[in-house]
Symmetry: C2
Subunit: 256 residues, 2 copies
């Protein structure tokens, strides 16, 4: 049964791409068939999976702007069971065209029927904004993982994002759920991290993942080697945390 998860937050730099890439790789290591779709014009998810940024490549731009069928945009990665559609959005003009193309909010949702039986999970890495591209991602998803950096700004940037999810639930995608809030870059030595964790659990009871992603050098260094942390250094605290997150998602998904 295919499950589609958007990894999204309006706040920048909270670990959306790191979560998308490492969760996708962990699910693939656990032999689920995974498609990672990079909706962020910066295209970091592709880089981290070893897909070099080559102008000639196809990608999500071709779906939104040129209406190319999604099966023609899929690339294999060096990890078995992990495929990716890169974000080939190379300029602000291309991004503007992408935004225009995503005004048809269900363009992504409708294109995924072709791959319903090919994958077990599809993950969307979203850009840091409330733009139409993010809305297209949330509209296509079954649930959302919201990474929260264990810092003050990230905790306070929720209001309009939660409101946007409610608006989408009313209209475009009535079945969208919050899969959970994921604490990232957690440093148990600081008061700030502990504060944010406590506040988040009080504000969204039952919706905060038990698993916390620690601040881990391997997660920051792995992209330089164009690999997810699980290939770069599987015994690192960061890689282990994402592996456990993948197991938690599989258990709750395949149990129900």
């Amino acid at each position: 049964m295919l499950k589609k998860i958007a990894i999204a937050s309006q706040k920048g730099g909270v670990g959306k791409t790191t979560t998308s890439v490492n969760l996708a790789a962990s699910l693939a290591i656990l032999e689920r068939r995974i498609l990672l779709i990079d909706l962020d014009p910066q295209g970091c998810a592709g880089i981290a999976c070893g897909i070099t940024n080559n102008r000639a490549m196809r990608g999500i731009y071709d779906l939104f702007v040129k209406k190319v069928p999604i099966v023609e945009l899929i690339y294999r990665t060096e990890i078995p069971y992990l495929d990716i559609i890169p974000a080939n959005i190379w300029s602000n003009i291309a991004e503007e065209e992408m935004v225009q193309g995503s005004k048809n909010r269900s363009i992504l949702a409708n294109s995924l029927y072709e791959v319903t039986f090919v994958y077990d999970y599809i993950l969307f890495d979203c850009p840091p904004s409330l733009s139409h591209i993010t809305v297209a991602g949330i509209t296509a998803a079954d649930s959302i993982i919201i990474p929260v950096q264990s810092e003050y700004y990230s905790y306070h940037a929720f209001e309009s994002f939660i409101k946007l999810i409610r608006t989408i639930r009313y209209g475009l995608n009535p079945s969208i759920e919050i899969e959970g809030f994921l604490l990232t870059m957690y440093d148990p030595r600081t008061r700030l991290s502990a504060n944010i964790k406590q506040k988040l659990r009080q504000r969204f009871p039952g919706k905060v993942f038990n698993i916390v992603i620690p601040r881990s050098a391997a997660l920051a260094e792995a992209p330089a080697y164009k690999q997810p942390a699980i290939l770069f250094n599987i015994s690192s605290a960061g890689a282990q945390a994402y592996l456990r997150l993948a197991e938690e998602i599989i258990t709750s998904e395949e149990k129900s």
Copy 2:
């Protein structure tokens, strides 16, 4: 002589708001008259200057959407010489209206004539995107500070941003310059930080600030106390680095 500086980067979480707030506060401590304009819908710059997020407040939305004169949107902060225009963009609909309003790319640039003799520096905190709002900020500015987190993704996310600056220089704002690249969250103990610093200096010779902003707990904690780091803990490495950055900008600006 008024100088307008945009603090911008497409990459999220690289320290745009932290730089805007702490540079503005440092320049004000050095008795320059400062206006900080928050163009980011998340509104973090206002929070960090002690302006509580109160729905009734006016802000940059009123300029872009309701064409209210800019002098009516200015608030004093607890720091003498530091005024702010908050981002009162409370929903994705308001953000959409802001984007529509900023299609008139020079709306911000044209509105600043009224305050030319009131301030010495105007700083714009930009959102993490190439949207029209960021374009309006860069169009209104004399120069841009580009914060670069000392990590892999941040270093690689430049291509389309530099291209956008060139496009603006051709058309909307022929005099726009890069003030400099500012390394943030620098940790001298890691190979990654040293690598990024070296690569950046090779790629943009003469354009990288000598001053490097270290990773500093005070910079991450100060927003929780609704203060810039210079008030929260002036002797911290983070506050001291922004004070030196302010001195460097004043020296190069008032020397020429």
